[in-house]
Symmetry: C3
Subunit: 205 residues, 3 copies
């Protein structure tokens, strides 16, 4: 198993856990929560593969749904402990976003997509699963949360694309750099409550 | 016309009616309501076909959009009567979910998808159209409603997959068993207000 | 560059601007707002191409993401002025809806899709990007707003399909007629606050 594959599994588990935490704020039961977890875990990558026009990754490999389901059940059973960490959902989301985003950039670039578009594919993949999770569970999307969210993702992906452009190392080796950059930047935003100056204007209608 | 085809049309009509009922809780007009009805009716199956990588079913057969549109107009014109049954939306949704879910499991298995993944495809198809409907009309998704929702779907699909695994009958003949199992289980949950013990924790942020 | 292409770019810019205006009603920052703008601008056309089974348009031509991004940044920097026009979001949305809807009808018909289905493709494309925008930013979708929304879209697309059916002119030449019809009809609905008689019934559960 390649490092990308293992990091993809870690991302799947992290997103599944974030899905359970989101589901637990509603009046959902175990099966419903696991559905939310699985859809969150594979949603972003499904959108990525549909746009890229390649077979959807989890149809051909039973490990993805298995990892998402088992992590979901595990997180559900540990819900009392997870709740103690009030930012647990945001951190699990950050882990999934970092690994899926960097992985999608790599996958797209390897398919010959130009780097600017591969960054866009990374961003869509990173944000897609969380958007479905937040829509299913009736939450505000993290994208519109006051803490920096898109900025760490686009910043880390741009760094990774720049490393690919330099060609100092194999493309595969940029995956970890991009993921770590996103996770550290986003993690600091969560931990230190970093936010841009408010720009909100009054609702226009 | 095969039995699957006719049951698919019944599912389309049921989902279209649920879309009208959801739309009627907003300030929508006839055309808007019919758009909601059609998107609800064909949304889940569209997601199914995109993931499976097969042509989207309604592009090649004009009957689907025609049935969804006509049912939508009919349900709109009968809105006074439908309103009298306070759970009408949930029952129409249950009918569509049962038939589309069981049909998607059959279609996926016939394409050679492993049974565990075919169950997942059934669940995504069953829930997809309703999720789009609830998002468009600003409702909480039924998935996070207090009554059992995912449990009947996954339970019925698992039963159907088990019947396929046993190979006692043709795959086609398991469709009705799965659909009836989902509909009866979900219908009882609506009628008797079955719900899991509450697991909600406080919103973590 | 063909007229369709230039009108598509205008639609992309208009939708991107509407995405920025929607994002500005939340607590979002520049990068988040630009993500919303880009997803709004290319979302409807992405759904269209996935359903049609053709390559996603913006993967093969870097101009689309560039126009969406630059318009997003520009609209963000002009946010003080845009806010002065209280209906600016609705008008930008109307421009994007008109041009994307009419363009999708043309593209679908040119692919040999029957006219009734091409109208449906036009409606899905027109409404898709705005739905994603409104979901991301937690707004009610314009589809369920009290002003006429689906009616102008379906009316204008039906007119355009009828012109195609008559074959008096080349299909390409119906694009502008359809787009103008949608924009004028929808613009009047916004300006004059046209709405259907209320049909809302009480929330059924």
């Amino acid at each position: 198993m390649s490092p990308e594959y293992l990091l993809g599994m870690a991302a799947t588990a992290a997103f599944a856990a974030s899905g359970i935490l989101a589901a637990l704020t509603t009046r959902i039961d175990l099966f419903g929560a696991v559905v939310v977890a699985v859809v969150t875990a594979v949603g972003g990558g499904t959108v990525r593969d549909l746009i890229l026009g390649v077979p959807v990754f989890w149809l051909n490999d039973q490990a993805w749904l298995a990892v998402a389901t088992l992590t979901g059940v595990l997180a559900f059973s540990l819900r009392g402990k997870l709740n103690a960490r009030s930012n647990a959902l945001a951190y699990f989301d950050a882990m999934g976003v970092a690994l899926f985003g960097a992985g999608a950039l790599l996958k797209s670039a390897n398919l010959g997509i130009p780097l600017s578009h591969s960054v866009a594919m990374g961003a869509v993949t990173a944000i897609g699963g969380g958007l479905i999770r937040d829509t299913l569970t009736g939450r505000d999307t993290l994208l519109v949360s006051p803490e920096l969210y898109a900025t760490p993702i686009i910043g880390g992906l741009t760094l990774q694309a720049f490393l690919m452009h330099l060609k100092w190392v194999e493309n595969q080796q940029t995956l970890l750099a991009g993921a770590v950059a996103i996770f550290v930047f986003r993690g600091l935003a969560i931990h230190l409550n970093w936010r841009m100056p408010a720009v909100a204007i009054n609702r226009p209608q």
